[in-house]
């Protein structure tokens, strides 16, 4: 793969006797939208945390923009960002204050116009001066996305980006991500349970089960391989280990 943005080699994370991620290897091409798909405990969030450097792997290597994340993560972090329902923002600060703090952490030169644009695009204007703790979970998801887009990241890691959103808001966010990706050429890696989201946004899907990548392909190729109509059925097949009937062994994802 020429100029992969993310290269992961034999990435493993063990917590005592539990192996959460088991010798996972993959690369993600620049400008693609890829997904880590899997059930609860499959290793999606753990993999994302290792990509971000929040978690030190037990073994293996993560390289982003050609930099080793264990040694040079501070060269890479200004070029990427992240959103997850498993982290939060200070509840007693307003939306504006929270975003201003993070804009300063990312060293943005022109904070006010950037915040105004994000507030407009993500429909935050009405809640901009409310404290984060007063917001509904859907509003919080939009604020978290705004925080993730503050520095116009070249690489965006999203853990369940439309969790807690109603169908209309979720559709709006997906459209926004599509537009952002098309305009900026950014690479997006998302972890999700939402099959229609993955089908719509992603051109590269990695299926995780018990910490291993057991299958990988475009949504179309996976649907064809499993003879299914939608990704939800593919997901269930993989959860029930039907990939073993197709391939015999869990496959290593192709680089």
């Amino acid at each position: 793969m020429p100029n992969p943005v993310i290269t992961v080699e034999r990435l493993t994370k063990r917590f005592d006797d539990i192996t959460a991620v088991d010798e996972v290897s993959f690369s993600i091409a620049q400008g693609s939208t890829a997904a880590l798909l899997g059930g609860n405990g499959a290793g999606k969030t753990t993999t994302l945390a290792m990509l971000l450097g929040l978690l030190i792997p037990s073994q293996g290597r993560v390289s982003i923009f050609g930099e080793d994340m264990l040694r040079h993560r501070y060269r890479v972090l200004p070029r990427m960002n992240f959103s997850s329902p498993y982290v939060d923002l200070p509840h007693r600060l307003t939306v504006r204050e929270n975003l201003t703090v993070y804009a300063r952490l990312y060293g943005l030169p022109h904070i006010k116009p950037r915040l105004a644009r994000l507030a407009h695009e993500l429909d935050l204007e009405g809640i901009f001066n409310r404290t984060y703790g007063q917001l509904s979970s859907g509003q919080r998801t939009r604020v978290a996305l705004a925080k993730a887009l503050l520095n116009q990241p070249e690489l965006l890691l999203l853990d369940e980006p439309t969790a807690s959103l109603d169908p209309d808001s979720a559709d709006y966010v997906r459209s926004y991500l599509e537009t952002y990706q098309a305009d900026s050429g950014a690479t997006i890696l998302l972890a999700s349970h939402n099959m229609s989201e993955v089908e719509r946004l992603c051109d590269d899907v990695m299926m995780l089960r018990a910490g291993k990548i057991v299958d990988r392909g475009t949504p179309r190729s996976l649907l064809d391989r499993y003879g299914r109509q939608n990704m939800e059925e593919v997901f269930i097949d993989i959860a029930r280990e039907r990939y073993l009937e197709l391939g015999g062994e869990p496959r290593k994802a192709a680089k």
Partner: protein, 255 residues
Amino acid sequence: MVLRNVYLLRRSWPRILELMYWPTVQMILWGFITLFFVNHSSWVAQATGILISAVLLWDVLFRGQLGVSVIFLEEMWSRNLGQLFVSPLRPIELIGALFTMSLIRTIIGVGGASLIAIGLFHYSIYDLGLPLIAFFANLIVMGWSIGLVVSGTVLRYGLGAESLAWISVFAVQPISGVYYPIDVLPPWLQHVAFVLPSSHVFEGMRAVLIDHTFRTDLLFNALVLNVFYLGGGIIAFLRFFRAARIGGQLVHVGE
């Protein structure tokens, strides 16, 4: 409900420690105070100035430590650590921010109390003159060092250890000679006391108030000890931070 709390207690050594902590510390502290006043009743005549200075300077140490620990805890309570550490913010920069906030909070808290003391007791701690700056600086640096160790411990072992933020500094109070000279302590405990920067500061405070002498030897001792305390505190925090990146505590903050 009892069983739920037994489960919690059994799994968290800091909670067990907390149960025994206050009675033990209070008993030791007031025991020494009683012992001293029995043998030195003439001190009572000067006690107002000495005790008010002692209380205010002790609060510099306490607020300095609490300022670091509580600000750090705020990030854990709001589940913001994961967001912070995927931004370009380095741990050492976070430490700098904690120190700054601690300094501001201490100046507001102790400064306010010192003004009240002028109004209520007609006693101004500012009469200590320039030595007050030396006392303040040494006590707040020692407080920061303890605060960093506490913050690192809570990060590594979870919010079950958060009560350490409020109680840890009181472990050094009985042997810091806050309200009585160090020579009241048993000889073996005096050796322990002199490895605390705080004991040199409070001895120095009494030298200024009683003998009207500024003891540069005590200031030098406190400064040298604080170099080690601050270095140790920073190293301990960075090690706990790395351990948290290995154990996954930055991703899953909790009990």
